[in-house]
């Protein structure tokens, strides 16, 4: 399988600010690649470089074998992009946006009509002839997605496609992402700050933090790296004492402080719960809540960076 995206030490600075510090990426054709990280991690900057909107300060990147700087126009023919904010002209109708998009990608009238019929399921069917100014945020994002696939791109970049969407609109975008990938083999590069989204959709995930790629792998493998299970303990005081106490238990792999308590990585959650509860009780540490769950990508992020993407 060939690479849809290859990046070698891709970096971008804005004055003295190093937004992206040297990212290496390999995304295979047909893959859904989730690019995860908190706000300001550099995800959008990487997308803007890969989609030819921004020149790298150093390093290089190829899209479907074409250099993003030297063959920018060839790259643009092959990719579809939905940027972070739905970038639409609110005085146009949905149909006008899609028609204009089709024309700029060299489609003729008949092809445009056919493609509008094919992508119209993404948009509310009664909205396509309405001005975009009357659309809700969710409808705008879905129209933006429809516009980005008008020309059947081989590679689709979706920059936080569901940020701020209601659950129904989010589900609709997820469904279309899966359909594009499964039915058409479209490679999808998806940035998100929603862990569930990355987990749900991605074959592989890259985790960005402070301009660098800090981890990469399938969601399952990444979560396994934290431990089999996570026990979350909410206590109101003696946090340091509890941390020290639990670190010494043989069933515990790692203890970290989160915003709302301790996160304890263990291999066998069911077996470890009782020993943890007993140890805390013996030490007269008051436990408010104790939860056993499987690790999330947020735990992976915490493990790697000492910080969280989402507050628990």
């Amino acid at each position: 399988m060939t690479n849809a995206i290859t990046a070698n030490q891709l970096a971008r600075s804005f004055g003295d600010v190093k937004a992206v510090t040297g990212v290496d990426l390999e995304v295979k054709e047909g893959e859904i690649y989730g690019f995860l990280g908190p706000n300001g991690a550099g995800k959008s900057t990487v997308v803007r470089m890969l989609t030819t909107l921004l020149s790298p300060t150093s390093g290089s990147a190829q899209i479907l074998g074409m250099d993003v700087v030297k063959q920018a126009n060839d790259v643009r023919l092959q990719i579809g992009v939905a940027l972070q904010e739905a970038s639409l002209d609110k005085k146009q109708t949905g149909r006008e946006i899609l028609t204009l998009q089709g024309r700029l990608y060299g489609l003729n009238k008949k092809q445009i009509e056919k493609r509008i019929a094919e992508v119209s399921h993404v948009i509310d069917s009664d909205a396509i002839d309405r001005k975009i100014g009357t659309y809700s945020g969710g409808m705008e994002r879905r129209l933006d997605l429809a516009a980005s696939i008008m020309h059947n791109p081989k590679l689709l970049f979706l920059d936080e496609p569901t940020t701020g969407l209601d659950p129904q609109s989010r589900a609709s975008v997820w469904e279309e992402v899966r359909r594009l990938n499964t039915d058409l083999g479209t490679t999808i590069f998806l940035t998100t700050q929603y862990l569930e989204e990355a987990d749900e959709l991605s074959d592989r995930v890259g985790i960005m933090n402070k301009g660098a790629l800090v981890a990469e792998g399938s969601p399952t493998d990444l979560k396994k790296s934290v431990g089999s299970d996570v026990i979350q303990v909410k206590i109101d005081q003696q946090t340091d004492a509890a941390k020290a106490l639990l670190s010494e238990l043989s069933s515990v792999e790692k203890v970290e402080s989160g915003p709302k308590g301790l996160l304890i990585s263990v291999n066998n959650g069911a077996a470890a719960v009782s020993s943890i509860a007993v140890a805390l009780n013996d030490a007269q540490i008051n436990v408010q809540e104790l939860t056993l769950r499987t690790p999330t990508l947020d735990d992976v992020f915490l493990d790697l960076t000492g910080d969280r993407i989402e507050v628990l």
Binding site: L83, S87, R103, Q111, N152
Partner: protein
């Protein structure tokens, strides 16, 4: 929000793929979008319809008797003299630059940059729409002039040439608001670009014939390209086909247009690079 259940996805025709559409096609697609938006933004052109007509009538009311009483051969018509000024006021500063600012701020300009279109048609397409709009804005002023009794010595063809010169000047000036829009992305800054027109508009023979201007103002007016554009347009009304005046007007338009469009192209380049 409307909560319509998405329709079932249809099978995509994968034979439909992107291809370069060509420079002219891209330019006319962008122009088409800009032209469609004109009636949707009446606030852009309605002031440009009324303000020149207002100044035309007020200037005639204020200065016609004074200027026509000055001893001469008695053929001077202040209405004919004022018509080019009214046209210039109608068309100067009319552009889609504010629309471009909106496109930049909403991210739609980025969407256009992501398409395989060449960069120049993104700007030239807007200017095609501007040219059409300024030509349309000339027509009511010409109609008003004709209704007030202005006679074109150059005939019907002269009226076309007169409107064309006005349109070309309007197009030449658009480079200034576009360069400001691309450089700043600010609607307020674009609005202030009309201030650039003030020295052009008032340090010239816009209200009083060149010969009647005081010494220092006459000297400045001789270096003001708008003087030659006004004189070229006036010649079509009062003298017929004075090719020297017409060529001088075209040269003045070319100089201002060359400079302003150079600025806009540099600003476009800067905007793309900044992205």
């Amino acid at each position: 929000m409307a909560t319509t259940t998405p329709a079932k996805a249809s099978i995509n025709d994968k034979t439909i793929v992107a291809k370069p559409s060509g420079f002219l096609s891209d330019m006319f697609v962008i122009a088409g979008r800009a032209i469609k938006s004109i009636p949707r933004e009446p606030e852009v052109f309605i002031p440009a319809l009324f303000i020149p007509a207002f100044f035309f009538i007020v200037n005639i009311g204020a200065l016609q008797d004074v200027t026509e009483s000055i001893p001469g051969d008695g053929s001077f018509s202040y209405k004919a003299f004022q018509m080019p000024t009214a046209i210039i006021f109608a068309v100067t500063g009319i552009s889609r630059a504010n629309g471009l600012v909106t496109d930049i701020s909403t991210g739609y300009f980025d969407r256009l940059l992501l398409t395989p279109t060449k960069r120049l048609p993104l700007l030239l397409g807007l200017m095609v729409a501007d040219f059409l709009l300024v030509i349309l804005l000339c027509l009511p002023v010409v109609a008003l002039g004709l209704a007030l009794g202005v006679h074109f010595e150059s005939g019907i063809l002269g009226i076309f040439a007169f409107v064309l010169l006005g349109g070309l000047w309007g197009l030449a000036f658009t480079g200034f608001p576009y360069s400001i829009a691309l450089k700043t992305g600010s609607a307020a800054a674009v609005g202030s670009s009309f201030l650039l027109f003030f020295p052009f508009a008032f340090l010239t023979s816009s209200t009083i014939p060149l010969d009647l201007l005081t010494g220092w103002l006459r000297t400045i007016a001789k270096f003001n390209p708008l003087t030659y554009i006004l004189e070229g347009m006036r010649s079509l009304v009062t003298e017929g086909w004075d090719w020297t005046a017409i060529w001088q007007a075209l040269a003045a338009i070319a100089i201002v247009g060359g400079f302003s469009q150079f600025l806009s192209l540099m600003a476009l380049r800067g905007r793309i690079k900044r992205n």
